[in-house]
Structure formats: C-alpha cells, structure tokens
C-alpha cells in the first residue's frame, strides 16, 4: 500500500532559518555589497532584490581532500584516436583538469559565490542601524485612531463580558467567608452534642441535647441559605479605548529647479528622496509625499513634473519654505502628522533671501517638524544658504541636519550619516 500525500500547502520556507543564518554569518561582506549597490544603482530599481557575490574561499567549508600533484589514473569515455602508450600534452588548467567529476562537484570552480537577496533583506541591510530621529509619535485628536485594549477585570459591565473563572472564584471566596463563623459554631455544637450523648442520661442533658439539636438544624439551614453565586460576585472583562499614536507621516520633498540644477544633480536629489521615502515607509503605515519645486516661486507638483520638467530662472528658496509652511498649516496639522522635510539644492540662492529662509525654518517650520534634512549637491564652495543653515543646525541639532553631496556614491553614506542611530 502506498500513501500519497499532498505536501504543497505546508512547510514552505523550511530553509528560511538556515538562509538567515547564512546571511548573519556573512553580514559584514553583504553589507558592503549592499552599500556598493545602493550607490551605483539606477534610480528606479532601488526597491528590488540585490545580487550579492562573496569570494568562494571565504565561505568554503574545508575538508581533507587531495590537492594537485602526484600520479592519478582516470578512466574517460569517448576515445577516438588514442592507443595505449600515447603521450599527449597536458591540457591547460593543470593536472587532471579535464573531466574530474568529483572536483567539480565540490569546488564549483568559480571564484565568486553569487546569490540574490530578496527586496526585504536588501532593505534590511540598507537601513540597518538607522533610526528616525525624534520619533515622538504625535497623538491624534480624532476618534478614528482609538483602539480597544484589554484593561483587566472589573465588577461592573455587560453580561456578554462576564469572566466566568474570576466570577466563580469570587463566589467561592464569598461563600467561604460568609459561612466561616457558622461552620465554627456548628462544629462546637456538634462536639458538645457528641459529648452529651456519650454521658449518662439526666434531665438537664436531655433538655440541652434537644436545644443543641435545634440550633444545629438552624445553623445548617443558614449555611445552606448562603447563595451559590451573587450579583456581587460577578466579574467582567474590561476594555478601554486607547488613543493610538499617529502612524502617518508626510514627507516634503523640496527641490531647486532653477537653471543651475542640471539633470545629473536632479537625479542625485531623486535618489536621496527615494532612499528617504523607502526608509520612512518602513517606519510608518501610511505615508504621503508632497513635492515642492521652486525657482523664484514655488509650486506643488506631482512626481513626474517634480523630477523631469525643466525650468530656468533665478532662485528664491524662501518661496518653497513659505509654501511648505502653508501646506503644513492647511493640510497637515502637526498633532496628527509626523512631518519630515528634505530639501535638495545646489546651494544657489538670492543672497538677501537666505536670512529669510533661516527665519521661516526656525520660527515656523521646525517647531512643527520631526526632522528636516538639507543636502547640497555641489562640488563648489558653500554660499550664503549653507551658512544660514549652519546657524539653524547649531540652534536645533536634534531636528535639523545638513550634508554635502558631490557625486552619486556619496548619497548613501550621507544618508546613513543623516539618519545614523545616535546613542540615546
């Protein structure tokens, strides 16, 4: 008799533990590989798995086996022209190189061990040891984010929530407590009765015996009258409404699109925004992104326009910050939303404008924001905007960070620096 079993539905991912152990073991090498990939990758495919290669010798499992050298007799199939005693030059690739089945099973013959990380694993490595600064979750005023939580046992409630075990336990203890004195009296009387009955019969005793018997009956009756369960005993499971911390965040991408920003600079900015977006997405259930681009005036746009349409003209950064502030006030009250701002620019600004930017940031935006990061994508000298922002950073080191990016490979390290987990 054969048993035929369909196993397709159970036991998937049986190797997950082993796979994870393998990744853990080569963490540092994989991390390097991931960092490499993050800085080299094109913008659109950052959210996919990554192929990683490790040197085979690093991960090999050594065993005792024969090395090259010595004499070896091998039988091969497919002889065409050889006869006994022929001498043929040793083929390139060393001794016994051709057709050694055993060796090719073990050694793979490759120098690199290649495999693919899943997207999840890739992002885990990418954002490892990073933390969102100021992760003080703001609370919502509205009722949508209330959550029911179990809050112990209470003595009042509706019948559907009766906790039977606790109710019966309460009943038992009440019955014990209420019957205590009566049972004690009963025991004493019964003892006295037993004593009297064992003594000689006399008039006084007979009267006392009758009296005792009556009292015993009464006590028993009263004991029986203690109710098995009383409303007083009932216990109910209690649930309370808890305000759920807001799990929503909004991310403002602010970018300079003036004539001085080339497509390459914008690409770099986009990669940075993308990293930020992926990172936030891992921390919040719901995320909205607002794109603001500006030259001399700012405009809220969609993603396509944000990254790809070209504009020319001068630069007034404060226009973007003003618009951002307006949007925050109108649509994203800071008690409901975790607000993140990221600004990318090449550092150009109308020189009178920089103090104004500083003012808007410190007075209006930063109090409402969780974190504002500024990246300057330029190989040139810093200008007024950078200097102004430096003051902001000095004033609000916990809520404001700035970094300079010169080439694409800087993006990921700078990102890591901006969001590095700081010792508490």
């Amino acid at each position: 008799m054969s048993y035929i079993i369909d196993r397709r539905l159970n036991g998937r991912h049986k190797s997950m533990v082993n796979r994870q152990r393998f990744l853990d073991r080569y963490k540092s090498q994989i991390r390097e590989s991931v960092a490499d990939a993050a800085s080299k990758r094109s913008i659109t495919d950052i959210e996919r798995g990554e192929s990683v290669s490790l040197p085979t010798k690093d991960i090999s499992e050594p065993t005792f086996h024969h090395g090259q050298g010595g004499a070896r007799d091998m039988v091969h199939p497919g002889n065409k022209e050889f006869v006994t005693g022929d001498k043929i030059p040793r083929p390139q690739g060393g001794a016994g190189g051709k057709g050694n089945g055993k060796a090719s099973n073990q050694g793979d013959g490759e120098d690199e061990f290649n495999f693919t990380l899943t997207q999840e694993e890739f992002l885990n490595f990418l954002f490892e040891d990073l933390a969102l600064p100021n992760l003080i979750k703001r609370r919502l005023a509205g009722i949508e984010t209330w959550e029911w939580q179990s809050a112990g046992i209470v003595s009042e409630g509706n019948p559907a929530k009766i906790n039977i075990v606790r109710s019966l336990r309460a009943a038992t203890s009440r019955r014990i407590a209420l019957g205590m004195s009566k049972r004690r009296a009963l025991r004493e009387k019964e003892a006295e009765l037993a004593l009297l009955l064992s003594q000689d019969v006399c008039a006084a005793n007979v009267a006392r015996i009758a009296e005792l018997r009556e009292e015993i009956t009464k006590l028993k009756l009263r004991l029986e009258k203690i109710p098995f369960i009383d409303t007083f005993d009932l216990r109910y499971n209690h649930h309370i409404k808890v305000a759920k911390p807001s799990a929503q965040a909004v991310m403002f991408c602010v970018m300079d699109v003036s004539g001085s920003m080339s497509q390459a600079t914008k690409d770099m900015a986009k990669r940075f925004f993308l990293l930020l977006y992926l990172f936030l997405k891992r921390n919040y259930e719901k995320i909205e992104v607002v794109f603001i681009r500006h030259h001399t005036s700012a405009k809220e746009v969609d993603e396509q326009e944000f990254f790809y349409s070209r504009e020319t003209g001068g630069t007034i950064v404060s226009s973007a910050l003003k618009l951002m502030n307006e949007i925050v006030t109108a649509r994203y009250p800071s008690d409901e939303w975790n607000i993140y701002g990221a600004q990318a620019s090449d550092g150009d600004n109308w020189s009178d404008d920089s103090p104004l930017c500083q003012k808007i940031l410190t007075e209006q935006l930063i109090p409402a924001l969780q974190y504002f990061s500024y990246i300057e994508i330029t190989p040139r000298q810093h200008q007024a905007l950078w200097l102004a922002y430096e003051e902001v950073q000095a004033e609000h080191p916990d809520h404001f960070a700035m970094q300079q990016i010169i080439e694409p490979s800087d993006i990921y390290p700078v990102f890591r620096e901006l969001f590095a987990r700081k010792p508490a």
Binding site: R8, S15, G67, A71, D73, H76, N79, G96, F113
Partner: protein
C-alpha cells in the same frame, strides 16, 4: 498472460496528473514490480511538493528533517539562484532511505514524468535500499526519521542553552571531518528516538567520568608503572576521527560530544549512498525502463506516453564524451543502466565473448542475477565483477595516467583485448572511496605530556593534501583544544608536518 493485449485500456491519455491518477499508476507499477518481478520494497510514501520545497529538500542534503546550520542556507541560496536564473533544472524526485520509503514528486512534472519517477524512486531505489548489503548493514530505514527528529531537537536545545554561535562553530568543525566520521567495520543497531534520548543521558555522565579518568592528573599510585607510561594511545591507529574525538577529546563538554556523535551518525547513514552511486542509479534506471515498458506491453499507456518517457530516459542516460565542454566524468546513470542491461543481455543472449568472460552468468536466470548483483556489491566491486568488454567498447573507455613528474599525460589502457582488465581495474579504483579520500588516521596522543595529538596521512601515489587541510586542522584544534600535528608520510618517510597550535598553523618540511 498474453504479451500483447489487443484491447487498450489506457490509465490516462492527457499530460495532466491528478491524485487519483497517481494512485492508479502506482497500483499498476506496483503490480508489475511485485508480482511479475518480485521486487522487495518498503511501503511507499509519495509526497507531492512544489519547486520551492524541492529546493528546501536539496539544501538539507536529502534529510527530510534537518537541524539548522548556515551551510544548509548556503546550499539553498545557491540552488535557488541557479534555478531562478535557469542555470539548472531541479531533479524530478528525491527519495529517502526510510521505512516507509519517502519519495518527493515535483508538482511541475507531467503525468508521464510522475509515473517515471514512481517507477524509478518508489520501486527502483526503494528495492535497492531494502536489498543492498551496505544499506542493510549500515543504515536503519525504520529508525532514521526518529533519529533525525532527536538530532534536531537536541541541537535546538543546545542552541537555547549555549547560544547559536557556540553550537554553529562546533558543527562547522564536525562537518569538516564528516568524511572521517565513518565506522567501516562496526555495525550500528537500531533504536527509537525515546531510547536514544535516554541513552544519551546515560552516555553523557558515563562518558565524562571516563574522560576524567583518562586525563586525571593526580597519580594513582606512588610508583607509576613504566610500561603504562610508554604504552601507546590509541593502541592502534584510528580511522574514525570523529569517533575518536567524541570518546577521547580532553576538554569537550558532554553536549559537544553528543553533537559530534550526531554528525558522525548522519555521515554513517549517507556512507552507503556514497559507495553505491552507479549501482543505485543504475538499478533505479534499469527498473523504471523495464517497468514502464511492461506498462506499454500491457497496453496501459499510450504511444505518446512512451515517447515522452523515452525522450527523458535518453537524456538521463546520456554520456557526453571526454572532449565535450559539459563533460563531468562518467555519468553514473549511464554506466549503471548500461551494466544492468548488459547483465540481462549476457543472461539471455550470451555471445562467445560473454561465455569466456562470464561463464557463470551466461545463460542463467537474468532476474536472479541482477538481484544478486544489486544485493551483494558496491560500485567498486560491482565494476570489478560485472563490467563487460562490450560496455567498455560502447563507452569507448580509455585510461589516462596523469603523473605530475612527467611532462605529458600517458594513455594507459584502451578498449581493446589487452586493455580490458586494466581498464576495469582502473575504473573500479576510481569508485573506491578509500582511494579517493586521503588516508588520514589518528596515530598517537601524548597522554602525559602536552596532550597533543598526532595524525598521519599516508600518501597514495605521491598525491599531496589540498591547501584547505590547514583550515581543517584548525577545526581539529578547536575540538581537541591542544596542539594538533598532521604528519604526511610517503613510503615510510616523513615528508612534512602541519602543526596547529595556539599560535596558528605552521608547515614544516622534513
């Protein structure tokens, strides 16, 4: 029974499989296997799995239940990668030497492939596991699943108690020595998981007591016995290095000894499979070929079924010649299948040559002869005994002597009258595990001094150890925890010594 039944009663005509169809094919194949050919098998447990699950099964090297270790993850990752890139296809089946015999079928297979796999695994391999003397002697089909469960639970408990890194490091060292954890002469006997657990507890205490005795430093008597001091330990060289370490390594904890034992046991379980690749695959291929042809004779399968089957059968037994880029040595399926077919031919239609080479076999009952061959040999002796000149001619075999001392390769024997015997001897040696693996044994332990251990490698035909040996030595040092020396000997001369001490590995040439 009429050989060709004219009324066709096909089991199925399409390529889609279903569970009822699998059951019908299984019943039909079983009927032929048991009643016509008298194959003796364990009961079958046929499990249908997905590709992903097949990769899981690959990764755990065919153990249905395995303990956790990163190296299995590595195998899984590389299989998955190769499969997803289309660099390799997955096997159609995996079969476990257990009772009942578990066979995994891939859901992607067509009905024909499922029938092929059932014939191959459930009746071919299965009867091999049950009949071959090596499997009978060294493995216990009925207790292996139990033992693997015990092993996994035990190792998991160790991880909880001593931490994953500690256990993993130990397993690394054990795996490095897995091929040297095989008992070649003593027969292990079957026990259940519960028994195993109880015995493990006893073992733990008893073993520690024994070790303490061996390494005690307080002198037993005032006058130490001179003879005892000079006595060699071990009294004879030991080939089962893991066993020797399990019993004698001075500083291992009881749980560590138990893990050594587990790895050793599993190595032992797989040892017969490593020795019977050609026979096992050849036998299974021979039977799927025979059984499915019988199905066809009985008009149970269609012509289309046979064409699909023959196509995939031909691919399985294809032997590329040595000069093809994808040549990977002799294909065990091809050689094994050819040899079993040839035995049948020699029995049924012997030529003059066969009568000269195999006088006992020529003309005898073919079924009894192939069964005798399956039951009583391993690859090495099977080739030695049954490889006929006809096969050597068909494969156009030739031997090549590759001597590092000479500039050119020398062609030894070829498939001609003067070469057959030598060719057969060479091929037989090629399947001899003890010639393929370096001969390394525990030679001596310095009991009273620095507690160092000396191992000896005896070179075969001047073949040196690979460079990875020093890494293995580190693993040995990890287990022994005192100095480890590996001496390499050739023709009674010590050539070099690799030593692993606390300072690291050093190689000395003598």
């Amino acid at each position: 029974m009429t050989e060709h039944d004219n009324t066709a009663n096909f089991i199925s005509t399409g390529s889609e499989w279903s569970f009822p169809l699998i059951a019908e094919y299984d019943a039909a194949i079983k009927d032929i296997a048991h009643n016509e050919f008298g194959l003796d098998t364990y009961p079958n447990q046929i499990e249908v799995i997905s590709a992903e699950q097949m990769m899981d099964a690959y990764a755990s090297v065919g153990m249905p239940i395995g303990y956790h270790h990163w190296s299995f993850g590595k195998h899984f990752v590389s299989t998955e990668n190769a499969y997803q890139r289309g660099q390799m296809g997955l096997a159609y089946e995996i079969v476990i030497n257990s009772n009942p015999c578990i066979a995994y079928l891939m859901e992607e297979n067509t009905m024909t492939m499922q029938a092929l796999v059932i014939a191959h695994a459930c009746y071919g391999h299965n009867s091999f596991f049950k009949g071959n003397y090596l499997f009978k002697t060294w493995t216990d089909a009925s207790s292996i699943i139990d033992y693997l469960v015990f092993a996994r639970n035990y190792i998991r408990k160790c991880e909880e108690r001593y931490g994953v890194p500690e256990v993993e490091a130990l397993l690394d060292s054990c795996h490095a020595l897995m091929n040297y954890g095989v008992d070649r002469y003593k027969r292990p006997y079957p026990i259940s998981a519960e028994e195993e657990r109880l015995r493990q507890e006893d073992r733990e205490t008893a073993l520690q007591a024994q070790i303490n005795e061996l390494w005690r430093t307080i002198p037993i008597s005032q006058k130490p016995d001179r003879n005892q001091d000079n006595a060699r330990f071990p009294s004879e060289p030991q080939e089962n290095i893991l066993y020797f370490f399990e019993k004698n390594a001075p500083l291992l904890e009881p749980w560590q000894r138990e893990i050594l034992r587990i790895v050793r046991k599993i190595a032992q379980y797989f040892y017969p499979q490593r020795q019977t690749q050609v026979m096992n695959e050849g036998w299974a291929t021979f039977w799927h070929y025979t059984l499915l042809n019988r199905l066809y004779d009985k008009r149970l399968v269609t012509d289309g079924f046979m064409l699909e089957f023959l196509q995939s059968h031909t691919a399985v037994v294809y032997q590329p010649t040595f000069d093809k880029p994808y040549y990977r040595g002799i294909n065990p399926y091809a050689l094994g299948f050819a040899m079993f077919q040839d035995i049948k031919r020699i029995c049924q239609h012997p030529t003059e040559e066969d009568k000269h080479w195999f006088p006992d076999m020529a003309g005898s009952d073919w079924l009894a002869t192939v069964k005798f061959a399956m039951q009583n040999f391993k690859d090495e002796s099977f080739v030695q005994q049954f490889l006929s000149p006809k096969i050597m001619r068909e494969f156009r075999m030739f031997s090549v002597l590759d001597d590092q001392k000479k500039d050119a390769l020398h062609i030894g024997a070829i498939h001609d009258d003067s070469g057959f015997r030598q060719l057969r001897q060479s091929l037989s040696n090629q399947y001899n595990l003890s010639m393929n693996e370096p001969n390394i044994q525990v030679w001596a332990v310095n009991l009273r001094g620095d507690r160092s251990i000396i191992l000896r490698h005896v070179r075969e035909k001047g073949r040196p150890l690979a460079d990875s040996s020093s890494a293995v030595l580190k693993h040995l040092h990890y287990l022994w925890k005192f100095d480890v020396h590996l001496e390499c000997w050739e023709e009674n001369k010590r050539i070099s010594t690799i030593s692993c001490t606390k300072e690291g590995v050093k190689t000395y040439t003598h």
